[in-house]
């Protein structure tokens, strides 16, 4: 099964990822432009066979230790693109087309792939392409959803919308849940209409340790600590044991951080 947990830096669906880890899913193909800590944790937990991505870093901190270990030990197979190519794959998927044209550079990544240019019927130019990416499931975390399943986001969207539109099934977690129609005035923030969304769960702070614009900030301290935690395979497993397998759900995970710690992240200082 191909899974895209969306959200570029912002609104990363960590609560959903943690639950996937708790349920001991396996053999997933994980797709994300930026694997970030969310996939580093999932890779450490052994849920993935394959990764489709474009930038596997800990943003502003460094590399992703569990990802590195898995790649260097040959435990995971990679399908790698540039950001533009990755987003273009989603654009094709979202538009129902089998490929997307873009003027991409010839890199060692491109040279490792089968040739994939098309000839422009008007200019004769060779135009590079990438194949469509249509995840089986795309998971998004949003600031607000309503009972019709409409999803609303403000701030950075990255490739969220295309990742969702390209998916066969879209599932969402949301910071706030509203009755139908009350969010209609926020039409500029609509990410997806409800008819494109299969299920929504109300999960406050469901993006921790990433952030939700206007609600809570990125847990920079944890992003920095992760390097030390994950570099050591045993310590990494112990962290998963304590924080993920050892908590029954996201509420317990949050309680474990404690109200005081979380209040420091909350915009305005209170959850």
């Amino acid at each position: 099964m191909t899974l895209y947990m969306a959200g570029f830096s912002h609104l990363i669906p960590f609560a959903a990822a943690h639950e996937i880890i708790r349920q001991k899913k396996s053999h997933l193909t994980l797709c994300r432009a930026t694997p970030d800590l969310i996939y580093d944790q999932m890779i450490a937990a052994g849920v993935a066979d394959r990764l489709v991505f474009s930038y596997a870093g800990n943003p502003g901190v460094g590399l992703l230790p569990a990802f590195r270990r898995a790649v260097e030990q040959g435990d995971i197979s990679l399908e790698e693109y540039t950001h533009f190519e990755m987003v273009a794959r989603l654009e094709a998927g979202a538009a129902g087309l089998p490929f997307w044209p873009l003027k991409s550079p010839i890199t060692d990544l491109v040279l490792r792939r089968p040739a994939a240019t098309v000839t422009c019927p008007y200019t004769g130019a060779a135009v590079p392409t990438v194949p469509a990416l249509n995840p089986d499931v795309t998971w998004v975390h949003v600031q607000a959803a309503d009972s019709d399943g409409n999803l609303y986001v403000s701030g950075l969207v990255g490739e969220m919308k295309e990742a969702a539109l390209a998916a066969k099934t879209v599932v969402a977690t949301t910071e706030s849940f509203y009755p139908a129609d009350v969010l209609r005035t926020r039409r500029g923030e609509l990410l997806l209409p409800g008819f494109r969304v299969s299920a929504v769960a109300h999960v406050p702070m469901g993006a921790h340790p990433s952030y939700a614009s206007g609600l809570y900030e990125r847990d920079t301290r944890f992003y920095q600590q992760w390097t030390a935690i994950a570099k050591d395979a045993e310590r990494c497993q112990a962290w998963l044991e304590e924080w993920i397998y050892g908590t029954a759900n996201h509420e317990q995970y949050l309680s474990k951080w404690g109200q005081d710690y979380l209040n420091h992240l909350v915009v305005g200082g209170m959850l």
């Binding site: 570029f8 830096s9 912002h10 432009a33 930026t34 991505f53 474009s54 930038y55 596997a56 870093g57 943003p59 502003g60 901190v61 590399l63 992703l64 990802f67 590195r68 790649v71 260097e72 040959g74 790698e80 693109y81 540039t82 950001h83 533009f84 190519e85 987003v87 273009a88 989603l90 654009e91 873009l102 003027k103 991409s104 550079p105 010839i106 890199t107 060692d108 990544l109 490792r112 701030g155 950075l156 969207v157 990255g158 490739e159 919308k161 295309e162 952030y211 614009s213 900030e217 990125r218 920079t220 301290r221 992003y223 920095q224």
Partner: protein
């Protein structure tokens, strides 16, 4: 002042007011934010996360930080930024880091060792290859070492000047900033040393590079970081929760 701070200050000087610069993560991010607080208040900082004309109150730690969004002109879907702004030539400067560079400005940020069996698996391209290809010209910042300045890099993540000459469209690698020197490219597309960093020598550069980098004479020395540059850089670091990086 550590080497990184000096590199940030020297590369900040390369940015001009009003330019549209696509800012990469790491030292380029520090340098662009510094330039905007020094001589280039109208620098248009663009981030591959989709942000146009960021005006961050604090130094952003990553290219997706909320502080980049708050006072920005626009937050675009990444697809729009890449296809409608980068691919169409609206970015003046691509500002990149890398793990390795060769004499033609090819950059590696993917792997040390082979791709299949890496010694160190790095983060990969992100937008770097796209930016290197489509920006009107690029500045690359990286520390100087024999491993990093390699006759043959382990992987071409972002292509530099093509074999036999400079890119014909005027694009491609323009400046490289290291802790030892400031570099450009000659008409053949080969790297050339333009200036030395303060208190460093050309011999050090030859020692620390995997090929012979010629110099452009007379070989000048980059002016020392000024008190104002140091002060503003420190005030930028002071905006971080934990102080300097």
């Amino acid at each position: 002042m550590n080497n990184r701070d000096v590199m940030a200050i020297i590369s900040a000087r390369l940015l001009e007011d009003q330019q549209r610069v696509l800012v990469g993560v790491g030292t380029p991010n520090v340098a662009a934010n510094l330039a905007k607080r020094l001589h280039a208040p109208n620098l248009v900082m663009i981030y591959e996360s989709g942000i146009i004309d960021a005006r961050p109150k604090k130094l952003p730690l990553s290219i997706g930080d909320g502080t980049l969004v708050e006072e920005s002109l626009a937050v675009l879907p990444m697809g729009e930024l890449f296809s409608q702004y980068l691919q169409t030539g609206w970015i003046d400067i691509g500002f990149l880091g890398a793990a390795q560079i060769d004499s033609r400005g090819n950059l590696n940020s993917t792997t040390i060792g082979s791709y299949e069996h890496p010694t160190i698996r790095l983060a990969g391209s992100g937008g770097a290859a796209d930016i290197a290809h489509h920006a009107r010209r690029t500045i690359t910042i990286l520390p100087h070492s024999r491993e990093r300045f390699a006759a043959k890099i382990d992987f071409v993540t972002s292509p530099g000047h093509p074999p036999g000459g400079c890119r014909t469209d005027g694009g491609g690698p323009w400046r490289v900033v290291t802790d030892l020197g400031l570099f450009g490219f000659d008409s053949e597309g080969e790297m050339i040393c333009l200036s030395l960093m303060p208190s460093h020598t050309y011999e050090e550069i030859l020692d620390m590079s995997g090929w012979h980098i010629p110099f452009q004479s007379p070989l000048s020395v980059v002016p020392d970081p000024s008190p104002e540059e140091i002060r503003v850089l420190q005030s930028l670091y002071d905006t971080l929760p934990g102080g300097a990086l």
